[in-house]
């Protein structure tokens, strides 16, 4: 009973905390008034948007998520340099672009979204489309001589970790 009421008031506890944190970062000061205002926002927005978002994503291992973010940040830096070299030193005719099909093992929409975003943010690959039954991801790669290796790296480096985080 108590749980049901609590569920009614705070449908997404993590989202509430996240919105409060975002609000405090936005106003850049921690005072009682701002915390209260942030809490009000954090309670109102999940309440209003709940019908659009019936299942909340479960994050099984938050620590793994932190590791994932750091890994992606590092990869972005490395990949930036790689792509900069391709743009600077390779002629268009010498750049071998490929479509890559990545079969997906992750099933939750949140995990697929994060994987697609990660692939786009690490330069050199752009997520282009999802199969109609969400089983494969179409990725465009700027330059590679071995498309299979790129696919395996995406699966091994990112998807495996996301699977651990979300399942």
């Amino acid at each position: 009973m108590l749980k049901a009421i609590l569920n009614r008031i705070i449908p997404h506890p993590q989202l509430t905390g996240f919105l409060l944190l975002t609000w405090l970062l936005l106003v850049n000061s921690i005072s009682t008034g701002n915390v209260l205002l942030g809490l009000i926002i954090g309670l109102l927005i999940p309440g209003i948007t709940q019908p659009f978002w019936p299942d909340r994503p479960k994050i099984a291992r938050p620590l793994k998520a932190v590791e994932y973010v750091l890994l992606v940040l590092w990869d972005i830096c490395v990949a930036n340099v790689t792509v900069a070299r391709i743009i600077l030193f390779k002629s268009n005719a010498n750049t071998h672009s490929h479509w890559i099909v990545v079969p997906l093992e992750v099933r939750s929409p949140e995990a697929i979204t994060i994987l697609a975003g990660t692939i786009t943010m690490t330069p050199g690959t752009v997520t282009s489309m999802l199969a109609a039954d969400a089983s494969h991801l179409l990725v465009h790669c700027l330059h590679t001589d071995d498309p299979d290796a790129v696919r395996d790296e995406i699966k091994h480096r990112y998807e495996r970790r996301l699977k651990e985080i979300f399942e």
Partner: protein, 127 residues
């Protein structure tokens, strides 16, 4: 301490500027829309990222107050940039790329933009 911070801020700004320039140069140089899409993703990640880190260091060291707005900008960029890229890619594919030019999915159904499947079989709204 101030000297180190100054050097760090300048270096970050120069690196960020270079990557921004490179992103734009790639946009001009590459010859196909899908390839061009790769260039702006660079400008947003290292280019904007470098400026934001430089800004954080500058405010923390020289003006003595820590701001977190830069972290928020980074977060918003990381959320919006892939979505924009995906929109551009999809719009381009719908206009100019035929399904036969794409590799097959390897699964039961085709790519979301080209293949219609019923709501029942659709686990996620892929459109």
């Amino acid at each position: 301490m101030e000297l180190i911070a100054e050097i760090l801020v300048s270096a970050l700004l120069v690196i960020a500027g270079l990557f921004g320039l490179l992103g734009s140069w790639g946009l001009v140089k590459l010859d196909d829309t899908m390839r061009r899409l790769h260039a702006p993703t660079k400008a947003t990640t290292l280019g904007v990222g470098g400026v934001l880190i430089a800004s954080m260091i500058y405010f923390a060291v020289f003006l003595d107050h820590l701001t977190f707005h830069e972290l928020l900008i980074t977060a918003f960029l990381f959320i919006t940039a892939p979505i924009t890229a995906n929109f551009v890619a999809k719009a381009h594919m719908h206009r100019d790329i035929k399904e036969r030019d794409l590799p097959p999915t390897g699964g039961q159904y085709g790519w979301a933009g080209y293949d219609e499947i019923g709501d029942a079989e659709q686990p996620i709204d892929t459109k």
